[in-house]
């Protein structure tokens, strides 16, 4: 089982390729390590410790630039191959025809690629561990056109400036590097020049990035955001645990969950990017408040302010959405009630709190928040305040009398004066406390509220519609909204404000305007987004919920967007229009049956849960993929697929390198006796063989290399073989090229074949038309049957499976499959066939 033992020339090439692949793998590792010093680092270190190639690995770790190393490696490998060929050419003229040259070595993140050019046969062959499509993209154009120009092929093919293809040509035992201008240089200089072979994909990536410029932008932001998000929620959670008795956190917590969920799901790119703005501000408010107030008030204050900020967001959305909250609260069991109750709860808490605190240093902020919440929720405020005075006031600041007066005040100018009286009666058991109780109370209140204030709501709705309409015309949504808001409601308040706290509110009018301004923009813009995201707009409650959530969720992004580009205002009008439509829809749908809405809501919920799960998994997946900072799901999945393929290839290559199996060898019909019936050539490149795999069984008694089931790489179906290897095989039987296929990649490789290289080919599994994968034992007989080969393969496999505990499951599975194949004898109908189809 010793690597490299018992070399013959073919094996040597294989070994070198193994080694190259190994190094490639290491390079891959290094690349991964560069981004995330995770799992791969210890692995590299492990390699480093044990390997004789310390310097290489050391340099891989230390090397600043991966590409530099890559180039070095490429050149080095070309040199190795070329030297090797030159060394063996004389010895084995048949194996290495005199015209053979290493034309192109491409090193790529996903694999290496070699193109051999046989000058005599004027044919190319290709070995690659990277997708042929990649290589083709690099070389194809030139390849086809230059194929006819026999002598110039090499230079033409390789020197494709835009593809950055360099070539190393072995000529007369001398290695030449042909540059773009067809100047030839000595290899020494070529080392410096290098092979920027990974450029194709990089360029592709660049293009991709270019296309998704916006995405990338978000991505960049998102990486920052993720950190923020990870820390930001903590205050809220903390908050929830801080005051267990307090109903505020209890109620607000689900809301938070909603918010955060939405951040990461529906509006992922934008929202997450924007969260930065939101959370810090929230936190800063909370912290500033926390600083301003002292003692055991800190916690509660912070809670309240966080909550009230939530409330403000919610309510602003509410406001602009024509108090959709009220609409939804008519359905007590809808989840909207949660939101609503939490919102009102927030008001409840902030309300009395403001009274006591309004002389404090935080009055500005509180005033702002309260102002907003009052403005938006004014109908409910009195009710809640009263209920709070009866139930939960002991938890709040001890100002019941003023509280009630406050209520009266508000109810006075907000018309629902009667409501104030009716609500305590409705509640019946106000004193028992308990969050649930209060919750239900709130529900009742709001229900009553809703009824009594329908007219007023409609009025406001109309007003808002007018607002937004005017906004549409002026296309300057924010300022007008802000103005309208401040014009509309604050005056009312100022009328009624005989109390100090209201004065505070008035003092912070400037801030209010600004805040509202932002909030309003967020609300207006949020609606369409949420609409799109949830897709069910018909039902009033659903819609209202959406709009509320959307408003609160979208608030930050919009705020940020506003800060970022001023052009946005241009299409604000669109949003507002949409909003108007939606508003109408809400109005019209409000009357429709609640059954429908409930069903829609259920559906919506389940849909949300489903999306939740997917997003969660997506995040987990993202963590597993190194350097994956993609934000949108599509490119995330793309990345995952790519990574998975790379990993599979890596495992496969390493298995090869570890001597568990040799690179699959496909024997194109080179020798008449063998090739005719077996028709290997069609299995070559581009036949969609995808996972043709063979393995040489080394006759020298070295361990056999069991067939390995190759991961089925779907979508790796490579386009027709422009690589002439096949053609060569058919047309030029004199050429000594054989195609070595690597599993999964459809990798043909010129492998010396002939009497000098006594090794037996393994069975080939393809999904191609070849029904019976032929097994050939070159060592025993020129035209041996596959039955002959079976024992050959089987015998070494047993020790493999038995003695090697480190054989990985995949390999073991592969072994099993191999034996299965062997067991089936002549006709190893391939499992791969099944897999393929």
């Amino acid at each position: 089982m010793e690597w490299g033992s018992n070399f013959n020339s073919a094996e040597t090439v294989c070994s070198i390729i193994h080694f190259i692949q190994t190094i490639r793998f290491c390079l891959n590792l290094r690349e991964q390590t560069a981004g995330t010093t995770r799992r791969t680092t210890p692995l590299l270190l492990k390699l480093h410790q044990k390997s004789t190639y310390n310097i290489l690995f050391q340099s891989m770790i230390d090397e600043q630039s991966f590409s530099a190393l890559n180039r070095r490696f490429t050149v080095a490998m070309t040199t190795v191959l070329t030297q090797f060929i030159s060394a063996r050419a004389a010895e084995f003229p048949q194996v290495f025809p005199s015209g053979l040259a290493v034309l192109f070595v491409g090193c790529h993140l996903s694999g290496s690629s070699f193109v051999f050019f046989n000058k005599e046969a004027k044919s190319f062959s290709h070995f690659s561990t990277m997708p042929l499509s990649e290589l083709y993209r690099v070389a194809r154009g030139k390849l086809d056109s230059t194929q006819d120009k026999n002598n110039m092929v090499a230079s033409d093919l390789s020197m494709n400036p835009e593809n950055d293809v360099f070539e190393l040509v072995w000529e007369n035992g001398q290695i030449l590097l042909q540059g773009q201008s067809n100047r030839t240089r000595k290899l020494n200089t070529s080392q410096a020049q290098c092979l920027p072979s990974h450029s194709p994909r990089d360029r592709d990536r660049d293009v991709g990035y270019f296309n998704n410029a916006k995405m990338v932008k978000f991505g960049a932001i998102d990486s920052v955001v993720r950190d923020v998000m990870s820390t930001a929620p903590s205050p809220d959670v903390e908050l929830a645990h801080d005051d267990d008795d307090d109903m505020v956190p209890w109620l607000s917590y689900p809301l938070d969950g909603h918010l955060q969920h939405d951040y990461s799901s529906d509006f992922l790119p934008e929202l997450s990017g924007v969260t930065v703005n939101d959370f810090p501000s929230r936190n800063s408010i909370a912290s500033s408040i926390g600083k301003a107030s002292g003692g055991n008030q800190v916690n509660r204050e912070r809670d309240m302010h966080l909550n009230s900020l939530h409330g403000a967001n919610l309510e602003d959305g509410n406001n602009s959405k024509l108090s959709s909250l009220d609409v939804s609260t008519t359905r007590p069991r809808s989840s909207m009630n949660q939101l609503h109750s939490s919102a009102s709860q927030q008001i409840q808490t902030s309300f009395p709190h403001l009274r006591t605190k309004c002389t404090g240093g935080t009055e500005n902020i509180t005033g702002k928040i309260l102002h907003d919440s009052l403005v938006c929720h004014s109908p409910q405020v009195p009710l809640i305040a009263s209920s709070s005075s009866s139930t939960a006031k002991q938890k709040l600041d001890p100002t019941p009398p003023s509280n009630s007066s406050n209520v009266i005040n508000f109810s006075h100018f907000l018309r629902p004066a009667a409501l104030l009286k009716s609500s305590p009666q409705n509640h019946g058991v106000p004193g028992t406390g308990g969050s649930r109780n209060l919750d239900s109370m709130v529900k009742n209140c709001s229900a009553v509220n809703n009824q009594t204030h329908e007219s007023s709501l409609i009025v406001t709705r109309d007003g808002i519609r007018n607002e937004s309409n005017s906004c549409c015309k002026n296309a300057v949504v924010p300022s007008i909204d802000g103005k309208n808001l401040s014009d509309g409601k604050p005056p009312e308040q100022s009328q009624a404000n005989k109390q100090p706290e209201v004065a505070c509110l008035g003092d912070s009018a400037d801030h209010d305007d600004r805040l509202k301004h932002c909030l309003e923009v967020g609300a207006t813009k949020g609606l369409p987004d949420s609409e799109k995201a949830v897709e069910s707009i018909i039902a009033a409650s659903v819609c209202s919920r959406n709009s509320v959530e959307g408003a609160s969720d979208d608030l930050p992004p919009n705020r940020k967007r506003k800060c970022h580009d001023t052009e946005d205002s241009e299409w604000h009008s669109d949003d507002v229009e949409e909003e108007c439509n939606d508003v109408k829809r809400v109005t019209s749908a409000r009357g429709t049956g609640s059954k429908r809405s409930r069903a829609a809501e259920v559906h919506n919920l389940s849909e949300r849960r489903r999306r939740d799960r997917i997003n969660e998994k997506m995040r987990a997946l993202q963590e597993l993929i190194p350097n994956c900072n993609k934000v949108d799901k599509a490119s995330m999945l793309d990345e995952a697929i790519e990574y998975l393929k790379t990993l599979q290839l890596q495992v496969q290559i390493m298995s090869m390198g570890a001597g568990l199996f040799m690179p699959p060898v496909m024997f194109p019909g080179g020798m008449p006796p063998m090739n005719a019936p077996h028709i290997y050539a069609p299995m070559g490149v581009g036949m969609g063989m995808g996972f043709g795999i063979g393995m040489p069984d080394i006759n020298g008694g070295s361990p056999g290399f069991p067939m390995v089931q190759v991961p089925h790489m779907q979508g790796m179906h490579f386009p027709g073989p422009s690589i002439p290897a096949q053609t060569v095989m058919h047309g030029l039987p004199s050429s000594n090229f054989q195609v070595l296929g690597l599993p999964g990649q459809g990798l043909p490789m010129p492998i010396p074949r002939g009497p000098i290289a006594p090794f037996s080919g393994g069975p080939f599994m393809t999904n191609s038309s070849v029904a019976a994968a032929p097994v050939e034992n070159f060592g025993s007989a020129a035209a041996s049957t596959s039955k002959d080969a079976s024992p050959n393969i089987n015998s070494p496999m047993v020790p493999n499976g038995g003695t090697d505990p480190s054989i990985t499951p995949a390999l073991r599975q592969a072994n099993e499959q191999a034996s299965c194949v062997n067991g089936s004898g002549v006709n190893p109908t391939t499992k791969n066939d099944l897999i393929a189809n």
Binding site: W3, F19, E567, L644, L647, Q650, M654
Partner: protein, 91 residues
């Protein structure tokens, strides 16, 4: 105007995304040996993703094992080719 364009692209891409994602998920599924053969075309995306995660973890483990093994083998290999390669690499 650029924002308008980007916005329309966004919205259109968000519409595409569903199809795209389904497509990608099914591609992903094909890469997973566990559920590759599942004929029922309806494997939930969440399950596919879950399986992907598991599979990637497995592959990571495998790579770990193999790299260890490989390093051993590389360390013990002593052939002309190895020497050549070594010398080249140590330049």
């Amino acid at each position: 105007m650029s924002s308008r364009r980007s916005r329309s692209r966004q919205s259109s891409s968000s519409r595409i995304t569903d199809d795209q994602i389904n497509d990608l998920v099914s591609k992903l599924q094909q890469l997973l040996p566990e559920i590759r053969h599942t004929q029922s075309d309806k494997v939930s995306a969440a399950k596919v993703l879950q399986e992907t995660c598991n599979y990637i973890r497995n592959l990571h483990r495998e790579v770990d094992d193999l790299s260890e093994r490989l390093s051993e083998l590389l360390a013990t290999s002593d052939t002309a080719q190895a020497a050549i390669i070594r010398s080249l690499l140590m330049q």
